[in-house]
Amino acid sequence: MHPAPFAYKAAHSVEEALQLLRSHEDAKILAGGHSLIPALKLRLTQPAVLIDISKISSLRGIRRENGKLIIGSGTTHREIEQSHLVAEASPLLASVAPQIGDVQVRHRGTFGGSLAHADPAGDWPAAALAVDAELVIAGAHGTRTVHASEFFTGMLTTVIEPDEILTEIKVPGEGTPGIYLKHRNAASGYATVGVAVTATHDHGRIGTVTIGVTGATPVAFRASIVEHALNGHAVSAHLLDEAASHAADGLECLSDIHAPAAYRSQLVKVMVRRALGKLLHA
């Protein structure tokens, strides 16, 4: 299908993009386009103006500053996948990137685009929650920083206002062990369920565990019940079994022809258990 007509504006700086957003009604930001373009083609969305931010060089790149990893929102999944800095500073992000879509998608799709789109089956929201990422959002009155725990407000919805742009994502860069396990939809590669886990442990005792879960519910979430049951306790297979068995407590899971709610709920428990086992060796 062909999209409905729209005007195309390429921005060359964040300032220019914000200015364009303010001066056009019904404008939409275009980054990698891997969620937006299919929706445009099916005419599920028909913005009057697309503002292309993929040419803004300041939005791309990965650097470390004061112990934090700072990733520009326009950085592609592939750039994250191939970054030695990410591999060293955030094993969890390094684990997520190669599991997104296929290599063609990873070359175009962006970190910030995926977070801002907040697809219930997106991979990055789980990881952003697990590392408690800080998301920097630029608007008319400067920038504001929002923690991942407050960023996602519902299915496909975040705190980003229509006249704002996500510019940078800051994540802890201490190299905390982390892993992303994903049950892929066979056709689309989307996460039927994905669990992003970080864990520290020392001499058989768990330090801090963080667990982000995507795909299961309309919006990604932190499995805090499981985290609380583990933090500070001695590692044992029994403890991990017991804690993971509560990973889906109280969830209202999504249901579709690929996976009914009960199946997703079971997957959450099983995958949390597997990820914990891999990180804590039990």
Binding site: L42, L44, T45, P47, M155, L156, L254, D256
Partner: protein
Amino acid sequence: MRIDGTFSFNANPEHVWDVLLDPEALKACIPGCQSMTSTGENTYVITLTVGIAQFKGTYDGNVSIQDAHRPDRYEIHVDGKGRPGWVRGVGKIKLVDAGNGATTVEVEGDATIGGPVFSIGSRFVPPAAKMLMGQFFNAMKKRVEGPAG
């Protein structure tokens, strides 16, 4: 697609019933309702613009209230279509006296959807429907219980 929900109101079933079926209240509380015109007893044509994030669509449809037994139960039949797709569904609504001047409203909905919104967006539709139903009953709750409630 099943859409179920339970909502509680601090008012007796008769009062809840009168507000839930009041055309003015319906018009005000249906999310994205652009217009609603009566075409006969308990039948309406309606235009609404609903969706999530940028995935919004405008739908035109017919709504009828059937099998109404004040203040216990009624059915709401919906048949609508718009550019993003079409929907046909029935909601069975039961008002249960919860005592102490309170009412529990139980909704059992069954809907069929089709068109582009279904082919690409089927996984988004049930949570969206649930969210819209929640918005509708929360708006109704405010109307039933008054601003102070």
